[in-house]
Amino acid sequence: MKPQIILKKISNLSIFLNVITAALGILYFIMPSPSVLYDIFGVFLICSWSFNLYLLFIIDKYLNKSSKIGKKINRHSYYFIISFILSILMIVFGIIFTTFILSGFLAILGSLMIISGFFIIVIYGIYFSLLIFSSNEIREGWNFD
């Protein structure tokens, strides 16, 4: 299969996974009760994060960074990696806060850190995947040959 088609399919799948993860995440944060639906949510969460990571890794191989769109995607890939790292740290510290402090400012802050960390990853994941998907046909942006 041609790299251009592979990249298009991966970004397409990544959009789908991130959208489903975001939708189930909203449902989970509103009603966090044990359910098989949330088991599926957990699997989607892992898959969407994995595809985001794979996309971040693979685009460097084909991206033409001297073109305008190539520069834009490259810039956003850096922003996405940094946001991903910061979001993971926010979620970890959020979990630690909510484990040891059940009420007060730090408990609210902990919950907000988890929720915002989660949504930053999936929303940026959707945007980044869309960017790659929509620019896939622009020849100057890629070195597929």
């Binding site: 009760s33 088991d39 957990g42 969460l45 890939s77 979620i91 909510t98 484990t99 040891f100």
Partner: protein, 441 residues
Amino acid sequence: MKLGRDGILTKFKKMNILRIILINLCFLTFIVGIYFTAIVLFKIPTSLAITLSYFLSQISGFLTILYILTTILLVKLLSTRLKKKPWISRIILIFGISLAFLNSLPLLSTPYSIQNAENEFNIAYGSDWRSTIPNQIESYMSPTQFNFYDYFLGFPIKNCNVDVDTLYYDNDGIRLYFDTYYPITDGSKLPGNNSVIIKIHGGSWQFGDKSLGNVLVLNKYLAAQGYIVFDIQYGLLDAGGSSFIPTPEYVRGNVTLSDMVYQIGNFTKRLEAEYASIYNANLNSVYFMGGSAGGYLTALCGLGYNDPYFAGNFSHALTLKGIIPIYPPNFASRYFDNEPLSRLISGNPTSNPTAFAKFTPSNLVDAGDPPALIYQGLRDDLVSLDNAEAIKAALISNGIDCMLLTFPFAAHASDLIVGNSYSQVWVYYLERFLYMSQFSS
């Protein structure tokens, strides 16, 4: 907006500085990552490493993702400079993926923990043990042993009533309080059926406290299931040391193990006389539960409850249905023969063999003791597996059920973050043990 030549140069310099900072941060992350990975995998006998080991295996899944992200970032940052040396990128890639893989081992070992727990339950209760739990009751419990959403987004905190700081002991300059977690609705219609859990915190018999130091999230979770959780303080040895574990001064003094047993026993008497009626507690179904030093006291009180050596300490109106020691020390001669903990028992194993024998919980087991569910991490540098195995062997040899749940790569205190891969498995089997043991004779 168009930039002049100077503007472009300034922007280029800023980009370069940012790139250098990021490259250095990536390498720093890798160096710290090597140290963290070594702590997860091997015993490093420094106080910093031991303290870090409490947390690292619990968040190793997050560390795995962080190392992958760092690897991708570093390869990207160096890709333009290393076009002629692609092997350097490959080395970074292999190194980063290896680091990520090693940190994912605690998470990847979850199926082993589940299989081990299944085997223990099958041996104790028979292979169809799940059929003894009605569907309506099981609907209150975790549906699966592990899920990713609790791991990556935190364990949901349940609603319950909480009464804090009830004084139950004030003597010889030591004041002891307890907190009570109890259900909002009628507990008799929930799995717990108002059963009592006396929860004893850890901290090396010198430090620690109820509440913050005693897995609050689990207290609330169990209370929401219909258990009355009494999270108690007990007297601690003041040997002059300090710890990062918060410890109130009013519980510290010249305390021995006998005093601790007396104080916990005193709580059981006041539970019978006063608190049971206040909280509608079911005294026909009582459990001791605690971690580390609290796990030791759990085993000591739970197995010594009917031992003549401890006669007079405890209320006899309570029916013990189970004990839940979490990474419990067992051997008195190993833990109480050196300063400062030797102050907890008078004499030494040679001069006072009876006390050392009686303060070893596995020696207290008899046929009248309750079943036990034990948690033990296999990377626990403070309390090794043979402690839990000795308690299990003593119970099994007396015909009493004992399930020892072991967790690979789990360090001491690895159950503190309740959503982690160990705690999820633990909670799944704990809530089922608590329910099934209520009906044992």
